[in-house]
């Protein structure tokens, strides 16, 4: 039985967009120019490969289905009406691939590659005597990054954070792009009162401190939806779709706080395009205004969209960690590097310290954000090297 979360749709849409771009690199559009910029830069090419690995993990973690419950005889358990009963846990393909890592838990903390638990316990010797010693692990040497307080594999937790990061980094921009294009183009092309209204809206939104807007929004909407972990029956509509999802709300509100920059850029660009000769010519030929917008303006602002998309990505991934750290990001059940950092903070004050949780979050985040920054720069240099986009998310 498939289960589709609202944010899964974002990942699927992103996959579609990537396939579309992959097919259009041979043409002459912005995809081809962006690709030329990346291809000529060996470092950016390597970084692109790293991003591809991350995205594959996110995609695998977004295809999920629930298994039917089997009764004692090994047949499908059924309800009174003869319908199958399904397990409330919707496991993704990733969970199934890494099922050993997911299920091989320990009692508590253990260091990377350890064969014994990190803390001493009362161990019963064969002779019946008990001593305080480090008990042997159930799965010695199996946990490459150790285990956390409740014995879950840290590497698995970190991998589960990949999807959250990709959804926030890419999904946020995807959600806001249609609005930014629409308002930006309309304001720049029509000018006058429409321009004034759009400018008023985005200046007002931009002047509200982003973090606090997110806080207010998440306190109101974020607490009711699916928080990660088990899917309860009441959250599923149409028997497979989960719309009310905390991660989706987070992406949406981050989009609301970050669309203003792109909208301003697009408005400026359409203002400039409107006066260009070929646009004037098509106007003289009697092409309608919506026709001109669709044919000449929108295709010519798409490079700004692509640049913003890649440049905002890393900032949003970093922002997610901070928001989850404050406690208004993703739910505690959701795999997230921000949540890992949050728990790791207390672990550093233990003696001896538990460092692997923080280390795992650091490595996974750094290995995503650094390539994203480098690819972003390459794409920007290829499409519009003079574009300056502020200091990013604050």
């Amino acid at each position: 039985m498939p289960v589709i979360l609202a944010t899964d749709l974002i990942v699927f849409f992103l996959a579609g967009a990537i396939v579309y771009f992959a097919f259009s690199v041979r043409g002459e559009g912005i995809a081809a120019r962006a690709w030329a910029g990346i291809r000529s830069n060996r470092l950016a090419l390597v970084c692109m490969a790293v991003l591809a690995v991350y995205f594959t993990i996110a995609l695998l973690d977004s295809i999920r289905y629930r298994d039917p419950v089997l009764d004692e005889g090994g047949r499908h358990a059924v309800t009174g009406k003869g319908e199958y009963i399904y397990n409330p846990q919707a496991l993704s393909l990733l969970d199934r691939v890494l099922s050993e890592m997911r299920t091989d838990t320990e009692k508590s903390y253990s260091a990377p590659f350890a064969r014994y638990l990190f803390t001493k316990e009362s161990v019963e010797l064969p002779g019946g005597e008990t001593v305080r010693d480090y008990p042997a692990l159930k799965h010695p040497g199996a946990h490459w990054l150790g285990t956390d307080k409740v014995g879950t594999d840290v590497l698995f937790t970190a991998i589960k954070g990949v999807r959250t990061a990709i959804v926030i980094g890419a999904g946020t921009t995807l959600i806001m792009v249609p609005f930014a294009i629409f308002f930006g183009v309309v304001a720049g092309f029509y000018g006058g009162l429409i321009d004034d209204i759009v400018q008023y809206i985005y200046t007002t939104l931009a002047s509200i401190p982003g973090v606090l807007l997110i806080v207010a929004f998440m306190l109101l909407f974020g607490t009711s939806g699916y928080q990660g972990g088990l899917v309860s029956q009441s959250q599923i509509s149409l028997s497979f779709f989960v719309f009310n999802e905390r991660l989706f709300w987070l992406a949406l509100i981050l989009g609301i706080t970050s669309w203003t920059d792109l909208c301003r850029l697009i408005r400026g660009e359409s203002l400039k395009l409107r006066e260009l000769e070929y646009v004037q010519a098509s106007r003289a030929f009697g092409v309608s205004k919506p026709g001109i917008i669709a044919r000449h303006i929108v295709p010519n602002v798409m490079h700004l969209v692509l640049i913003t998309f890649v440049l905002q990505f890393s900032g949003l991934v970093l922002a997610e960690a901070i928001l989850s750290y404050i406690g208004i990001g993703v739910g505690p059940q959701m795999g997230s590097w921000g949540n890992m950092i949050n728990t790791a903070r207390l672990e550093l004050s233990r003696d001896p310290i538990v460092w692997w949780n923080l280390f795992a979050a650091f490595v996974f985040m750094f290995a995503l954000v650094l390539p994203a920054n480098i690819v972003g720069d390459a794409v920007r240099d290829a499409l519009d090297p003079r574009l300056r986009t502020g200091k990013g998310w604050h």
Binding site: T204, I208, A216, L219, L220, S314, I322, L348, L358, N373
Partner: protein, 326 residues
């Protein structure tokens, strides 16, 4: 000039009203006062009478936007929106929902610790970033420049959280150079401020250096710089006198807009280092779901941002003679 400033300020008024209405919608309409009362009083043993009492004490017992029971102007004034939003226009923030403290007073006392940490962080960070950026621009297209940029990208790819946690652990706990967190009054505060300031500078330096480097490079490639070089000026003279002056214009936009925000403090820095500033105040309010405080801080932040924009425009007209007042 004066008429220009006045016009810019008048232009800000509709934006301030817009912010006010938007936050009122978010906090009073979507989030009903009944829910707020229930959250504050505790979910379990709460009676309708207790909710009514709480709402009356905190002024939430009125209708949201239009009071149909009153006559004339009172239809609009005897509402939550009017009672809670309009006083914000003259910075009367009212009292908090949970502890009934005077928010305005609290902001006045707490903004100084915020300023004590954010001002040195900002000023030192700016000077260091500008200096390093200029050095990279001077050695452009050499290995110093290339590796400098790589280092900047690496620095900006690390989350601030790691800088803070790592800095506290290494400098504070292992090397015992500074106290890990805390605050004190007067000059005694200095020893608590060194660590957050150092960490803040390291965390922001990557973004800053890269940004200012592109600004300088753009300026260096212009015609008047080539002329200055052609007439035989030294590279240092060219860079400091001719390039720096013009590069200051884009730098200014970036700098001036954030100056009013220095009062606002930093949310995570202040919580990590236990500095009793406005950022800490806000985080506490978020965690105790005190909407009156959160809303005041939203409003204050918007005002500071708008002041920053106005200051930016004014400073533009001062440094760039091409910008006219009209």
């Amino acid at each position: 000039m004066l008429s220009y400033i006045i016009r810019r300020i008048l232009y800000a008024i509709p934006i301030i009203i817009g912010v006010n209405v938007l936050t009122a919608l978010l906090f009073f309409y979507v989030n009903k006062p009944d829910d707020m009362a229930r959250k504050i009083l505790g979910e379990k043993n709460v009676t309708p009478a207790a909710i009514e009492n709480w709402k009356r004490d905190h002024g939430y017992n009125l209708p949201s936007f239009v009071n149909t029971e009153e006559e004339g102007v009172k239809k609009l004034t005897e509402t939550i929106f009017f009672q809670k939003s309009v006083p914000l226009l003259w910075f009367d923030f009212g009292r908090s929902d949970r502890n009934n403290i005077d928010i305005g007073e609290e902001i006045k006392t707490r903004m100084w610790p915020s300023l004590a940490i954010s001002l040195p962080m900002f000023a030192a960070g700016l000077v260091i970033s500008l200096f390093l950026a200029m050095m990279l621009a001077y050695y452009r297209a050499t290995y110093i420049d290339i590796w400098g940029v790589v280092l900047a990208v690496v620095l900006m790819s690390v989350s601030t959280l790691f800088y803070i946690i790592g800095g506290q652990y290494i400098l504070g706990k292992l090397l015992r150079l500074f106290p890990i967190s805390g605050y004190d009054t007067g000059l005694h505060a200095a020893k608590f401020l060194v660590l957050p300031v150092i960490i803040g500078i390291i965390a922001s330096i990557g973004v800053g250096v890269r940004f200012y480097r592109t600004v300088f490079l753009e300026e260096i490639n212009k015609d008047h710089i080539r002329t200055a070089r052609a007439k035989g000026l030294t590279e240092g003279m060219v860079l400091f006198k001719h390039a720096l002056k013009n590069a200051m214009i884009p730098v200014l936009t970036n700098v001036v807009v954030s100056i009013p925000f220095l009062f606002y403090g930093s949310l995570i820095m202040e919580t990590f280092f236990a500095i009793p500033g406005l950022g800490n105040f806000t985080i506490d309010a978020i965690q105790s779901q005190d909407f009156a405080i959160v809303r005041s801080m939203v409003y204050l932040g918007s005002i500071l941002y708008i002041i920053g924009l106005i200051l930016t425009d004014i400073s533009y007209t001062l440094v760039d003679p091409r910008v006219r007042f009209e």
